[in-house]
Amino acid sequence: MALQSLDIARRSATTTAAPGVRQTTAVAKLIDVSTCIGCKACQAACMEWNDIRDEVGVNHGVYDNPMDLTAKSWTVMRYAEVEEKGKLEWLIRKDGCMHCADPGCLKACPAPGAIIQYANGIVDFHQENCIGCGYCITGCPFNIPRISQEDNKAYKCSLCSDRVAVGQAPACAKVCPTGAIQFGSKEQMKDYAAKRVVDLKSRGYGKAGLYDPAGVGGTHVMYVLHHADRPELYKGLPADPSISPLVSLWKGFAKPLASVAMAAVALGSLFHYVMKGPNEVSKELEDELEKEDAK
């Protein structure tokens, strides 16, 4: 939904600039994995606030449920049992849209206004403009958007843009019982993360750090990780995510190039005709045939 109170920074499939004179504070959600107990309150809150109810599934031999993001599960907890040198860790990560500063979904989206990046950093899907092509999935470096089987629209975490627009924290941050999900300005969140990293280092996590990957221009959902040097331990969080070069080629360079090339061929033909004239059957031949006929 379009939110008057949030300024738009970028709009999918739109080549002109968005209104940009107002100054807005960039927001961020910080997920401190080191204080997350994997209680799934965030999942429940997401369902409640957004009025989505996924199907009652089955157990697949793990704690994860639903097993993956769906059009009706915009966030899921992912549980990884990691045992190294006799020390077991249960790394639990809340997965969902990272709200990239350079969003691959928005870059790939062909439908004008179906994906909006607000000036505060939230990347939101506007389903009324979505055509259901799935290009956002192709574009996303984190494998987040899902197409609904019911309405063929793409869905993902909106960072509760409707709540943020009226000065509220996202539902998941609001309910998180341990405060593992924090919400505020991106600056504040980085400061908070820095303190957490100091604490974690004092507890023997020498490689603790903030996950705010530069490859996508930074994200508006960040993680504090005990093992920031190995994000992939957390059920495949990409170590160095960026928009795939293929997607960049497809929706970047190729777009103007191909358009120009096609136009060039069309114009080239036109000018060829104008300059060289039509290729008509020669008069001699026609006469020749007439003569034959006359015989």
């Binding site: 997350c36 107990i37 009652v56 157990n59 405060g179 604490d199």
Partner: protein
Amino acid sequence: MTNHWVDLKNSDLVIVMGGNAAEAHPCGFKWVIEAKKDRKARLIVVDPRFTRSAAVADFYAPIRAGTDIAFLGGVINYLLAKDKIHHEYVKNYTNAAFLIDEGFKFDDGLFSGYNAEKRSYGKDTWKYQMGKDGFAMVDPTLQDPNCVFQLMKKHYSRYTPELVSKTTGTPQDAFLKICEMMAETSAPDKTMTICYALGWTEHSVGSQNIRTMALIQLLLGNMGMAGGGINALRGHANVQGITDMCLYSEVLPGYLSAPTDADVDRKTYLEKRTPKALRPNQMNFPQNFPKWFTSLQKAWYGNAATDKNDYGYDWLPKKDAAYDVLAIFERMHQGKMNGFFCQGFNPLASVANKKKVGDALAKLKFLVVIDPLATDTSEFWKPHGEFNEVDPSKVQTEVFRLPANLFAEETASFTNSGRVIQWHWKAADGPGESKGDIEILAALFLKLKAMYAKDGGKLPEPIMNLTWPYRIPAKPSPAELLMEISGKALGDVFDPKDKTKVIVKAGDQVAGFAQLRDDGSTSCGNWIYSGCWSQAGNLTARRDNSDPSGLGQTLNWGFSWPANRRIIYNRASCDLAGKPWDPKRTVIKWTGTAWGGNDVPDMRPDAAPDENVMPFIMTPEGVARLFAPAMADGPFPEHYEPFETPLDKNPFHPGNPKAASNPAARVFKGDMETFGKAKDFPYVATTYRLVEHFHFWTKHSRINAVLQPDQFVEISEQLAQEKGIATGDKVKVRSNRGFIKAVAVVTKRIKTLDVDGKKVHTVGIPIHWGFKGVTKPGFITNTLTPFVGDANCQTPEYKAFLVNIEKV
């Protein structure tokens, strides 16, 4: 909790053992995280499984289910052997110095006075040596071989790290590491807190599990301190409230022990329950028992209760036998009960040995289920495939379902684990024809009363004389009830020091239990709640979270029993001179003229330190009991194996089969045969909750069902390999009482333990499934559990029993 939820943040070391706070108390666990974040606290988790709490712990150690006393006894031995105790505290604030009867013995697992026939102890030797002055004798040097300290030292000297590790399966280095971390909090300005729950209570040694930790906390000087204490995390939003109101047969509201057949009249009853001080100058607060009890009688019988009729003492039921939940179902199973009211209770799912419970219910004439949900119990008679195999033609019970409101559909009070009573407001009206529980009970009562009035009957007085002063008799309001519980003056109440001065006018609410009287001039439904609704109004509805101390002592938020005190035993947070052990965390202190500070002092406000009034005012000794004769199964906790143990003997008493399992635990006739043996059921099973669900309620809720839809059990990779089970496979788990089928979750988080030279595997069994609800239908976990309980309070042993497992 002796302390409260917010106070967890003041701790330096948090122990989660016998519970899984992150899983079962995620909101309260916030304060553990705060302690870690802001106080650099460390968190230790000891559990058979690497739990969600362990996921955020600094140190985790595995333990075999049912061996906590062995572990903690080992800690006591470590503290005493390494002299890592808070000496001043132990000497002055506990009964360490008290001399015990010379006849007291502990021999090969049994304390003196054991009667094998009755499976109980005679306590003749479990007592103090009494001096000629009528007080207990003490040896302040703690050197007398019969003083508690020396007896305790001797008792726990057997708990060597080797034997602890051999019994618990906890690696010795992990055990010692934990000892070391705990020992650091013996410093006066360091505190440790313990968060436990049903992982300690639901054992045949449940009460003693908790007592062992209490001993540790006393040795370390952590009781009464901010960030210390013994903290039971209660499992329901209001289970603390139900405990306080004592809806059990053993006790009356406010933990007043209930009259039995032996208490022939009020005088006999009161004499037995009103102790004399065991040391000079002590407050001996239970001496006020007659005031609390009389006020309770007045709250029940009003004007009908007079000194002429012992305030209606004869109308009270007198206990002739045990009426705990196991005893009730035992009696029902024997066909000795006609009807059963089941209010907010789903016993088919939550009582041990589902088959026995189902068979018992089938012998009733009627069953009334008062519940917001269509519970499994209400359909115990109905076949639900293999989940509930029953032949309805064999069930004679008539079942009535009375739809009740849910807590969020009522305005009333909750009491949380931290003893804070909080008023809450209705969020929505109940659906359809549902009614509040109060309204349902009022309707039943008025109908009964009308029937007695019309037809008469045997002993009508308890019903006919019950006071019922509510504005709408058919619908007493929760506010009226809370006012009644808090108490009021029926006549003018005078100052005991100045008999002419009226301190409470007739008709006014009392300000607290100090104003209660034993002459019938006050009424109070529960003395410990007294003052929660004073003349100042409903104090439980207060929502002022200002916290001047920064310790989370929000004295104007709700009302904390007793007397709005947030940390009980808080006098023990100061030294003998009244100075806080840790001035940075001052709970109270002696100001020179009175006790004051950041809490309501647990002490007579003007008791100067040199009066030597000791902090534990609820004991006649004035001090805490390291040696506790009140326990049914021994004054010192001792390790006994669960009734179903993977070992053939108790490693502490290998030669004495009588001391294999708790010798004082009650076993009903026929139930000994239902216990399985390790040769048939080689694996240790333990049951527990998951954070996604609340008991057997939320299986009726779509969101919870989405988050954890399907029944599962957890096993180690080693066991899975041995049994050819892959994660996600369907398995059958059998005990000697029945079986369940579930999906196998094969995990690194459960380890095979090395116990007494053998490999012991653990099977973890979450409890939440049943045949009613929107989750995938499942088996009732308590199909598997044994019908035996703790020796003191009969809480069933859900946490340690034996099973076998196979792939289906």
